[in-house]
Amino acid sequence: MRQYYGTILCVAVALLAGCQREQRSLRPLPANSSVMQQLPPESGLYPGGVAPAGQIDNPYAGNAWAIAQGQRLFDWFNCSGCHGGYGGGAIGPALNDKVWVYGGEPAQIFDSIARGRPNGMPAWGARIPRDQIWQLVAYVRSLSGEEPKSATPARSDGIEPTPFTIQNKVKGETR
């Protein structure tokens, strides 16, 4: 039996390596018509500090590929034009902090993007497909460290003159 220990060990490692395989969904998500009609709370404050149940979860939460797509779309759709590179804040509020004017839950961020907000946030619901809005939601949450560190982008899409990661920013280290 002892001569098979090596084989058993290799087989066990190979089987375990197949666990927790991240799904990369290239097909559109199943249609959820209520996500555009449902009105999540606009505030992050709840009486008693307990958020109400029943808000729609982000189907891409914790998915590294979706967050990476959100990072690409953040520049492609010029979110960085108002919110700054990596959500640092410009004429729009910073997205990489813990201050959420209209709530930081995924459904609330989806609502902010899709239906717009007062004082300058456009309504993107007719322009950005639902799946891409969810990818942007996941990315925006990763900017303030709300997504698992293993899924948060570890580098930017472009060439950076100095090493810079979102995790460094979230931890408060300066460039």
């Binding site: 290239l26 559109p28 497909p129 891409q132």
Partner: protein, 318 residues
């Protein structure tokens, strides 16, 4: 039919590579025949002779072998050195830089399409297009190659060798077509999910045809006269299309995706993935992810009442 073969050169650079290829081919063929012939001779000879005890003949056999090995090694080394010199000469000829390029074309690689800009000292004469490079015959065209994301590689086998498109760096490649024709090329450096579907066409035209093409390409999109096409333009402007695509002459000016100003005059869509016909275009718009999974164009649901006018409008963009 488009030419897409190293063995069908259509320009001076590809002809030079083809000549070197032929040299290697004949030399290696000769070596193969000689070595194979010796091998067969040894096999046949050893079958005819009866087996002998080799122990007491060892020294004599080795002395004879040593001479043959030395001669064969010498011939091999000489052949390799000559091939090395030939390769150096070919490389020097290929990298001879055209000091005054007649035509400069920027080719910017994206995942998974080719952005093409015709440069001009007069900015109003600059052209932006995608996935097709029109060149005049008989003139040296300098391609300035770079990338917006990962490393790609430009390879039109009938025109020249491969040159990488590296983000943050500009490489140059000179191509020249001897005769009119369509020369297909493709990306030659693995660049992600759809690297296999990242092709392009270099279309060589006679000088008159090339000038006519440039004149027509400079025109912005014409105002559609057909009301169905106008409705299609409204669909385009109201849909997510405008976030990525540009049509000169309209408010759509985004540069994330290929320029669509003259989409109807291109031979393929999706960087060589599909032929450019209305049916294929409809399928592409409705579900690009099932044709080219993982590419950056999302699935956008459109009703048939919107899709048909949109197709009519896009077909007017010649």
């Amino acid at each position: 039919m488009s030419a897409h073969s190293v063995l069908a050169p259509a320009g001076a650079q590809a002809a030079r590579i083809h000549a070197h290829w032929l040299l290697l081919w004949y030399v290696c063929l000769a070596v193969y025949i000689i070595v194979g012939g010796f091998y067969l001779w040894v096999l046949i000879r050893s079958r005819r002779r009866r087996p002998e005890a080799p122990a007491d003949r060892t020294h004599q056999v080795d002395r004879g072998l040593g001479k043959y090995v030395a001669v064969a090694t010498g011939i091999t080394a000489a052949t390799l050195v000559l091939l090395l010199i030939a390769a150096a000469v070919t490389g020097r000829d290929l990298s001879a830089y055209a000091p005054k390029p007649d035509l400069r074309v920027d080719v910017i690689g994206h995942q998974w399409w080719w952005e093409v800009h015709y440069l001009n000292d007069d900015p109003s004469k600059m052209i932006a297009t995608a996935n097709e490079i029109h060149i005049p015959t008989g003139r040296k065209v300098t391609l300035r190659l770079t990338s917006e994301d990962v490393i790609h590689s430009f390879w039109a086998p009938s025109l020249n060798g491969k040159r990488d498109l590296i983000p943050g760096r500009m490489n140059e490649l000179v191509i020249e077509a001897d005769r009119p024709g369509i020369y297909r090329g493709q990306c030659a450096e693995y660049c992600g999910l759809q690297h296999a579907h990242m092709a392009f066409n270099v279309i060589a035209l006679g000088p008159g045809d090339f000038s006519a093409w440039m004149r027509s390409e400079l025109k912005p999109a014409a105002e559609p006269s057909d009301p169905v096409a106008r409705r299609g333009r409204d669909v385009f402007m109201g849909a997510p299309c405008v976030l990525c695509h540009a049509i000169r002459g309209t408010p759509a000016q985004a540069t994330n995706g290929p320029d669509l100003t003259h989409i109807a005059s291109r031979r393929t869509i999706g960087a060589g993935t599909l032929p450019n016909t209305p049916g294929h275009l409809a399928g592409w718009i409705q579900d690009p992810q099932s044709i080219k999974p993982g590419n950056n164009m999302p699935v956008i649901p459109l009703d048939a009442a919107d899709l048909q006018p949109l197709l009519t409008y896009l077909e007017t963009l010649k």
